[in-house]
């Protein structure tokens, strides 16, 4: 593994059992939320993770931090496989990897002051001894995220959405993490406030050398903040590469369709915009199509798509990978049940 990779997932799976109704409690099927993800996040980069709702991007973010258990594969964090951690190791992971949640109204405890919320990680990890030292650190953190340290004694309801999100970021930074997952961190904010938080995240990332995973359905925001972009579809990363390359010259038909659906705030461009229309809805993650999982909606579907599951391959710009047979058939053929091929 190259030295500058901070987080590395290999064959990561998060499958949820589906409970049947009535007497059939078991065996009703499996929901494959994350289904074989290979992903490297480089130290100091911002990786944007995009996809439609239900594609598994939040589940992936949670699994990378082990906030939910994975059912297969490995996640390497700075050289340690975190899927097997427990006790002290897990606590150290909690310090070194933080999360900024989507809803700043639900992710802060309404009965604790900002100071209590932000200083809890300091106590848990024993980072500052003594009340005075912790209060100083809280003031520092609040200042870092652009809040007046004088607000430390206030409760979440006294803040606007954007300010609350800043509190959430301060809490996530309290442990001096290397890695921060921002899961739809700007989705519930107004446009002008979104811009403030995006700028803050970019500043913090540069200032503290953070590694960010920025999960969002807003492609314009992702394009703005990310060094690289990964696109997810039905539990799998189907394209990844430099933000510029993925944003302007996507190689996977799904990425092309997704980008073409983003409305642009320029009337003249907007009238010229050619949209690639995808037909049908995203298949259920409990019934993932065989072969390429995008084949049921792909406008270019051809023969190998039915039974060869495409692997990510280098296409387009340097560092750009796409899982699509249009660039040459690479991948695993659909698995025949073992023993069936050798019929007598």
């Amino acid at each position: 593994m190259s030295a500058d990779v901070l987080v590395s997932a290999r064959g990561l799976e998060v499958h949820f059992p589906i409970r049947g109704q009535g007497l059939r409690k078991k065996g009703a099927g499996v929901l494959r939320a994350v289904d074989g993800v290979d992903l490297d996040i480089l130290r100091g980069e911002t990786l944007g993770l995009v996809g439609e709702s239900g594609c598994g991007k939040s589940t992936l973010g949670n699994a990378l931090l082990r906030l939910i258990p994975s059912t297969g594969g490995t996640v390497d964090f700075a050289g340690t496989d975190i899927t097997k951690l427990s006790g002290r190791g897990l606590r150290e992971l909690r310090r070194r990897a933080g999360m900024v949640f989507q809803d700043p109204f639900a992710s802060l405890d309404p009965r604790r002051t900002v100071a209590q919320t932000v200083s809890e990680p300091l106590e848990v990890h024993g980072l500052r001894k003594g009340r005075q030292a912790r209060a100083e650190r809280v003031a520092e953190l609040l200042e870092l995220v652009g809040l007046d340290p004088a607000v430390a004694g206030r409760y979440p309801h006294e803040f606007s959405g954007g300010q609350r999100q800043r509190v959430g970021i301060a809490r996530a930074l309290a442990g001096e993490p290397d890695f921060l997952v921002c899961d739809e961190a700007i989705a519930s904010l107004d446009v002008s406030v979104q811009a403030q938080v995006l700028n803050l995240l970019r500043r913090l990332q540069r200032q503290l050398g953070l590694t960010l995973l920025f999960i969002s359905h807003d492609l314009s925001a992702v394009r703005h903040i990310s060094d690289r972009i990964a696109v997810m579809y039905l539990g799998r990363v189907v394209e990844i590469g430099p933000a510029e390359a993925v944003g302007t010259d996507p190689q996977m038909p799904y990425t092309q369709a997704l980008l073409s659906a983003v409305p642009l705030p320029h009337p003249a461009l907007e009238r010229k915009r050619k949209r690639i229309v995808l037909h049908g809805d995203v298949p259920s993650p409990s019934a993932v199509p065989s072969g390429c999982r995008f084949r049921t909606r792909c406008p270019y579907v051809f023969e190998p798509c039915d039974d060869v599951d495409p692997a990510l391959q280098s296409v387009g710009a340097p560092g750009q990978l796409a899982a699509c047979h249009l660039h040459g058939v690479v991948g695993t053929p659909a698995t025949e049940p073992e023993g069936v091929t050798a019929k007598p």
Binding site: E52, S53, S160, G162, D190, V191, S192, V193, Q194, A195, Q196, L198, N199, R202, H217, D218, L219, S220, A221, R223, H224, I225, E244, G247, T248, A257, L258, L259, A261, V262, P263, L264, P265, H266, P267, A268, L269, E270, R271, R273, R275, V277, L278, G280, D281
Partner: protein, 335 residues
């Protein structure tokens, strides 16, 4: 010129709140012509949703005082008797609310909800209404419309539910369709499908549309005219090209600058920081004196900013029939 579908003048809404009276809409005037789409843009709390809820009499009378006039095909919605208003909602004006998860009744099938709306306004048999309902679901692009009639909302995805809500809003061929953040909760691909659908129906039937959104990208695609709201007022309006390409109000400029832009690539590999509008919108219980925007305004180029609310005034070069107007003291010299 044909008569407008909707003509709103000097609409004002005052709400009673525990913290005192809140002036959420302060003198809003606009018209919507047949087949025309007017986009109402603004951040949360700017009064855009309340202004349309007031039009349809959907604000509780106990807390809301609504004044002004709103002529829907010549009839004033604001002085209408409740019985007449009930007749008008549907064939006169249909509404699509933001959240497809909560705007359908979870214990009734899709078919029941559609048939109810149709039979409330049209004297047809249950069977005929059901056939009409299936047709509508087909029109809004729902796969297997006949099967969908017997499904419950929870069996449908978000995009499908929003299409059902749109089908209900369209079931009585309204002259005016109000879409309040109708696509905000949806993925871009589904959003694009819904917008196509509304544009098609609009072309077929000449429906006037009020499209409320905070997404300026959607506005650029769908709107003929744009109305920018801030602090319960229209601070700028005009054609979509005028407002988005030549914004005159510092707030509109701020909003556009704050938008990460997919069409604007990095310069030498460096993406510049977004321009931001400092601070947050003022609470409607405590609107600033003078120009509503001045506490956040980066320009403040006039002595009157802090004392006097600027009127909505026509800006220099715009055409007489499609005026571009802005309510600011600071139109010149800054770009």
């Amino acid at each position: 010129m044909t008569a407008p579908v909707l003509e709103v003048s000097d609409l004002r809404v005052r709400l009673r709140t525990p913290r005192g009276p809140a002036d959420v809409v302060n003198g809003l005037s606009y018209t919507v012509g047949p087949g025309e789409t007017v986009a109402v843009v603004g951040e949360s709390g700017s009064g855009k949703s309340v202004s349309v809820l007031a039009l349809l009499g959907l604000l509780p009378a106990r807390v809301a005082t609504v004044t002004g006039t709103a002529l829907l095909q010549g009839e004033d919605l604001l002085t209408m008797k409740p019985e007449r208003l009930r007749q008008v909602r549907g064939p006169g004006a249909g509404m699509v609310f933001q959240d497809p998860m909560t705007s359908l009744n979870p214990v009734l099938t899709v078919g029941k909800q559609l048939v109810e709306g149709i039979r409330a306004h049209q004297d047809i048999s249950k069977e005929a209404a059901r056939r009409r309902a299936a047709d509508l679901l087909g029109e809004v692009g729902l796969p297997d419309p006949d099967g969908a009639l017997d499904r419950y909302p929870h069996e449908l995805s978000g995009g499908m539910r929003q299409r059902v809500v749109i089908a209900i809003a369209l079931s009585n061929s309204p002259a005016l369709l109000i879409a309040d953040e109708a696509t905000t909760a949806l993925d871009v691909t589904v959003q694009a499908q819904i917008i196509d659908l509304v544009e098609k129906l609009q072309a077929d039937r000449g429906t006037g549309v009020i499209w409320i959104t905070h997404d300026l990208g959607v506005v650029a695609g769908i709107a003929d005219r744009v109305l920018v709201m801030y602090g319960g007022r229209c601070v700028e309006d005009g054609t979509v090209d005028d407002v988005l390409e030549h914004p005159a109000h510092p707030y509109t400029r701020g909003l556009l600058g704050a938008l990460p832009d997919l069409a604007e690539p990095a310069v030498d590999g460096v993406v510049p920081d977004l321009a931001t509008v400092p601070g947050t919108p003022p609470p409607p219980t405590d609107l600033p004196k003078g120009c509503v925007f001045w506490p956040r305004c980066p320009v403040r180029g006039d002595a009157r900013c802090e004392h006097e609310q600027p009127p909505l005034a026509v800006i220099g070069s715009s055409a007489v029939s499609l005026p571009h107007r802005a309510a600011t003291w600071c139109t010149e010299g800054s770009s």
